[in-house]
Amino acid sequence: MSNILIVGLDGSESGSRALAYAKRLASLIPDCTLELVYVIEWTPYSFQTPEENASRHKRREQEIAVATSRVIDPAIAALHSEGFTANGRVMHGDAAELLNLVAVEEKADQIVVARSSRGGITSRLFGSVTANLVMNASVPVTVVN
């Protein structure tokens, strides 16, 4: 059975740091698969106009297409060319929850994320994605600085 590492990407520089670290780990682990996850922050409990609702499905497809073509596909292509085994997916929801969900589903060994680039008052009040993930994850989490 393959060893699986979950890597959280967000299209920013910190995501690349996480990926760089995950590659180093993967090269040390025999038979390792990298599962790239890009989460589009979304909550089912928001308030929207009827017009937004009517075109929501279309928007969702667009969001997934953009994230896939700009972040996931190039990353996977680069990994494949370097000889790594890698898959990717784009999901909507709460990043901390979904990264853990994928880790459980894939029976992953570890989740690799980078410390979130965003800070400020909201993350102080409600905790950052990284902090939530570390506190609640069912598998070991590595936070790359």
């Binding site: 089912p44 928001s46 308030f47 009827p50 928007r59 969001e63 929801g93 853990n100 459980v104």
Partner: protein, 518 residues
């Protein structure tokens, strides 16, 4: 650039139009006269009393409809509440559908279209004409209306149009025409077209003019009297910027502030009720006694009943069909789930929020009673005399203001925001009816949207009487067609319901939340 020019031209034409008429008579008066002349016959038809009584046939129509649905679905509004709440919480939502319109979002959107002036001004009108007893009938109508919503929203999702570009359109015009075809019934197309016409009128009446009118009443009550068309123009400009200019940020801010305002309104009402806790028993006594005796109002207990039912229907729109348009965007493979979710709407809107308003008006002693007889004191127009002579939204404002002197200011902001969000919602409902009739297309949509904005000005300038009558008439006309459609499509809903419930029982429909818990 192009859009900005269009906005500029439309507004300047409107201003010129207003200006030229000013020379002859006051704009407000002119608008008012023309308006009552133009809509009087329609109002008369919709509110015609049953022969030999003073009971408008339309009220009976709504009550009978809601009662039939309640019985036909075996009191679904009481049986399904637990499951409805689980659906809203997302317990049965497939995580793979994340990012689509959730049950919660569909409900919240539909609610922001209905929670608004009907809950504040409409209730005040109901109790100032129908007395405390109107509240009882309002609550009953709210409870029965839950079954109507269940029926129409299930169909709204089942027969929506899903276009290749990923957008959806739904509503009575779609389910009536498609559903009738499916059952091999004639006349579906005709009914659908009629519904669409009434929906456009309703979007201009209750969804627009009534809102503009009451928003103006509220603002002028605070800053002093000034011509209504000024408020109208400002509102029209902002609505124009959102629905034509596509300035989403305004709508987005409103959609976020409105729920907050709603919660604050209910909390304020609760605090007032707690402050007067000793009178709550008395208030309910008034409500029950008034429901069956009328406590001396014009028209007796029938008067209370009519007002209660009318205002409840106007507030929660159950049976009207508008909610089916709003709910149809939800992501679900089971149309009946949206029916379950939507039945919470009349409960929140009418049974909770409208009752709060009514209780506050009653408990703070706004309705004048004769100390000798305990009966209401009536004015010349048959309305109950109020403490400061106000009616409509001003009455609610006075009631809340008697407990918190600053509340009228908060209420003014709430009314303006509620009015605005209701307008945005109804502009969408009307637009969907419009495109159903005339087809989609930029210029066709623009025509409707410009017309919508012009009616905002008219609504703000007209007196309360003619506007409120036309608003009611247009919205109830939608209910005439919609409920006919629902009667014929009931077996389809029943089939959906039974199939869903049996699969829920056998465990074929699974709960997602909890199953994947950490």
């Amino acid at each position: 650039m192009n859009n900005k020019n269009k906005i500029f031209y439309a507004l300047s034409t409107l201003v010129l139009l207003m200006h030229s008429k000013m020379a002859m008579a006051s704009v407000d008066e002119t608008v008012n006269d023309v308006f009552s002349w133009a809509t009087g016959w329609f109002v008369g038809l919709i509110f015609a009393p049953l022969p030999g009584t003073s009971f408008p046939w339309i009220v009976l129509w709504l009550v009978v409809g809601a009662s039939v649905f309640t019985l036909y679905f075996g009191f679904i509004q009481f049986r399904a509440v637990g499951h409805s709440i689980a659906l809203v919480k997302g317990d049965y939502t497939n995580p793979r559908d994340a990012g689509e319109v959730s049950h919660f979002q569909a409900l919240a959107t539909a609610l922001s279209g209905t929670v608004g002036l009907g809950n504040i001004a409409g209730v005040a009108v109901a109790v100032s004409i129908g007395g405390a007893g109107a509240t009882f009938w309002m609550i009953l109508a709210g409870l029965l209306g839950m079954a109507s919503k269940f029926a129409e929203c299930t169909l709204g999702v089942k027969y929506r149009n899903e276009y290749s570009d990923g957008t959806v359109s739904g509503g009575p015009m779609y389910y009536i025409s498609k559903g009738f075809k499916e059952r091999g019934l004639p006349g579906g197309k005709l009914l659908a077209v009629m519904f669409a016409i009434f929906c456009i009128l309703g979007s201009l009446g209750g969804g627009n003019m009534f809102q503009a009118n009451q928003a103006h009443a509220q603002i002028s009550g605070i800053v002093g009297d000034y011509p209504g068309w000024i408020t109208g123009l400002i509102f029209a400009a902002i609505v124009f910027a959102v629905i034509v200019g596509g300035i989403k940020s305004i709508a987005r801010v409103t959609e976020k502030v409105v729920p907050f305002m709603g919660v604050m309104y209910v909390l304020a009402a609760l605090v007032i009720l707690l402050m007067n806790a000793d009178k709550i028993g008395w208030a309910f006594g008034q409500i029950f006694e008034g429901a069956f005796t009328g406590l001396g109002i014009a028209g007796g207990f029938v008067g209370a009943l009519i007002q209660g039912f009318k205002r409840a229907a106007f507030s929660n729109e159950a049976g009207v069909g508008s909610a089916a348009i709003a709910h149809s965007a939800v992501k679900t493979n089971e149309p009946v789930t949206e029916g379950f979710v939507s039945l919470l709407e009349p409960f929140i809107d009418t049974v909770l929020i409208c009752t709060m308003t009514a209780l506050v008006i009653i408990i703070t002693g706004q309705l004048m009673t004769d100390p000798a007889t305990g009966l209401y004191m009536l004015g010349e127009n048959g309305r109950i005399l109020t403490a400061d002579g106000s009616s409509g939204v001003a009455l609610t404002s006075a009631a809340f203001g008697s407990a918190f002197s600053w509340f009228p200011y908060v209420l003014a902001v709430a009314v303006v925001l509620f009015a605005f969000s209701t307008m945005i919602s109804w502009s969408y409902y009307g637009l969907k009816a419009w495109t159903y009739l005339f087809g989609e297309g930029k210029s066709k949509e623009l025509t409707y949207k410009v017309m919508f904005c012009i009616f905002i000005v008219i609504g703000a300038a007209a007196n309360l009487g003619p506007v409120i009558d036309f608003s009611d008439a247009a919205i109830f006309a939608m209910a005439v067609v919609n409920i006919i459609g629902l009667y014929f499509l009931l077996p389809i809903i029943k089939r959906e319901l039974n199939s869903y419930l049996s699969r829920l029982k056998t465990g074929e429909i699974v709960k997602f939340k909890g199953a994947t818990a950490k």
